[in-house]
């Protein structure tokens, strides 16, 4: 878990605790509406599509594609400096929602829009494992 000291760790609240607990188990879950079936991310107390409160956590495929990306040469703070250059991307999940993440395990120059990726996890602390994305294994 070295190399992550000083980073901005997410602080969960009751509405997001299940997500971070799942990440800690290296499981990727998102919300789905029990009424209209729409998936959503980030978690909310209701479905943004139909306003139903019957939202529930469901396992997600963890597969998606790079919607857009950037390679950071300048880190946000010294805690991230050792990671440069690092790739920040918006990932469109197979289920539809978009989230921000990091693309790892590939050369900065090899990322491209539309690149198929799958979720992986980095253990940043005893409580927090961060979902990141790597080139899909096929």
């Amino acid at each position: 878990m070295s190399g992550h000291a000083g980073k901005f760790l997410p602080r969960s609240h009751p509405g997001t605790q299940a997500y971070w607990d799942a990440c800690r188990r290296h499981e990727f879950i998102i919300q789905q509406c029990g009424d209209c079936g729409t998936h959503q991310f980030y978690p909310r107390i209701f479905c943004t599509s139909c306003a139903s409160s019957a939202v529930a956590w469901v396992p997600a495929s963890g597969h998606g594609k790079v919607l857009t990306w950037t390679v950071l040469q300048r880190a946000v703070s010294s805690a991230y400096a050792a990671d440069t250059p690092y790739i920040i991307a918006l990932i469109e999940l197979r289920e539809g929602p978009v989230l921000m993440s990091k693309v790892c395990g590939c050369e900065a120059g090899s990322v491209y829009t539309g690149m198929p990726v799958e979720v992986s996890f980095e253990d940043w602390s005893d409580e927090i494992s961060m979902p990141v994305f790597v080139v899909a294994s096929g």
């Binding site: 997001t16 919607l67 390679v71 805690a79 920040i88 921000m100």
Partner: protein, 393 residues
């Protein structure tokens, strides 16, 4: 059909001023805010006792939980309307619209809008970077280490992929701003730059180079807004507020409805409708330019060019000094100054200067109408203001 805002021509700017900008180690955010305020009052020819409304913005370097109240206390003014804009960008003009509404409904008569901060000397580079990046989602974005340039780089990349926009076209926005800054003795960066200079500058967040990014500055700006009825009583020609429009699409970029089309579509449509004008009737534009690609998207979404054509529009000189739409005539956030939350104010004071004929070497001849556009967050909240001289009322 959406109801039309009825504030057209009801209020006017009668005082306007900037402080010095750039690196100002001898002062603080509070002092700059008050200095800007007093300069604008002097420009309006009135004393602080005639102010009955005050609008400020939160400072990152010297925050106050009750910012506007703290500024009122410092100046010993006792307003009946007192509001702090929490952030910058479009919220500056949201606050201006609120102030105009307050005047039009008799809540108050004369509102001083003063905004300042000291991002350059009041924070270290790392502090400034981290503080501004905190606009990201605390759980679902910030942990990955994005910077503000990175958030905008995601937008730039998407626009390049979708419309074929090139780094050279984005660089043309920076060159456009610098060309005007060279004519503005107050601008922070006045050395001429070329497209090649922008492309050769250090890569910050691919595809954004250092010179695609706006400045980090100290500075303040203020305006005095009053009712159209009172506006004739002030020494300088009033600049009337003809159009306001807001549009709000998201806060966090990962939640954007679209990466390449912004809520400037809505803010622009509303402002033009209220003003009863079209893009062809705008003589000079101040388009929020925190990063070069932002300007291209705003020009498209406001309707100055077709969707996807922003790059070609700027690169072909349409916004240049003698072009049909002179843009960011003080040098903009890219070359004049960008103190953070107060950023949009300098576009507003520059528009006032242009409409008064006070633009010096960079004066746009016969400018009678101006459009000012601000956006905040990450291409999130947009606000458009259309201003005009008395003859276009």
């Amino acid at each position: 059909m959406e109801q039309v805002n009825t504030l057209r021509g009801k209020t006017a700017i009668v005082g306007s001023a900037d402080t010095q900008v750039g690196k100002l180690p001898h002062t603080s955010a509070t002092e700059l805010c008050v200095e800007a305020a007093m300069l604008a009052l002097e420009d309006a020819g009135i004393g602080k006792d005639q102010v009955d409304g005050l609008v400020t913005c939160q400072s990152m370097t010297e925050p106050h939980m009750y910012h506007a109240e703290a500024m009122a206390e410092y100046m010993q003014v006792f307003p009946r309307y007192c509001v702090t804009a929490n952030a910058g960008g479009g919220t500056t003009f949201s606050a201006l619209q609120n102030a105009a509404s307050a005047i039009a409904t008799g809540v108050c008569n004369t509102v001083l809008v003063s905004m300042a901060d000291c991002l350059r000397t009041g924070l270290t580079r790392d502090q400034a970077m981290a503080m501004q990046s905190s606009t990201g989602h605390p759980q679902f974005e910030i942990p990955y280490g994005p910077t503000v340039p990175a958030y905008y780089a995601l937008i730039a990349r998407a626009h390049m992929e979708r419309y074929g926009t090139t780094p050279e076209q984005m660089a043309a926005v920076a060159v456009n701003g610098r060309n005007y800054a060279a004519l503005n003795p107050c601008a922070q960066m006045r050395e001429p730059i070329s497209i090649e200079d922008v492309l050769a500058s250090r890569m910050i967040a691919d595809p954004l180079h250092l010179l695609d990014c706006s400045l980090v500055s100290d500075g303040g700006a203020a305006v005095v807004l009053t009712s159209a009825e009172r506006a004739g009583d002030f020494p300088k020609d009033p600049v009337y507020v003809l159009g306001f429009g807001e549009g709000h699409g998201h806060e966090h970029i990962s939640q954007a409805r679209s990466l390449t089309t912004s809520a400037a579509v809505e803010s622009g449509r509303r402002a033009f409708r209220m003003a009863g004008m079209g893009t062809g009737e705008i003589d000079v534009a101040q388009i929020y330019d925190c990063f070069t690609p932002v300007v291209l998207i705003e020009l498209e979404d406001l309707g100055f060019c077709a969707k996807g054509e922003g790059g070609a529009f700027v690169a072909s000189g349409q916004t240049a000094i003698n072009g049909p739409l002179p843009m960011n005539t003080n040098g903009g956030l890219l070359s004049h100054c960008h103190p953070g939350n107060p950023g949009s104010m300098f576009g507003l004071t520059e528009a006032v200067a242009q409409l008064r004929g006070e633009g010096g070497q960079r004066q746009v001849s016969d400018a009678e109408t101006a459009l000012v556009h601000g956006q905040g967050g990450i291409m999130s909240s947009h606000a458009t203001v259309i201003l005009g001289k008395e003859q276009v009322l």
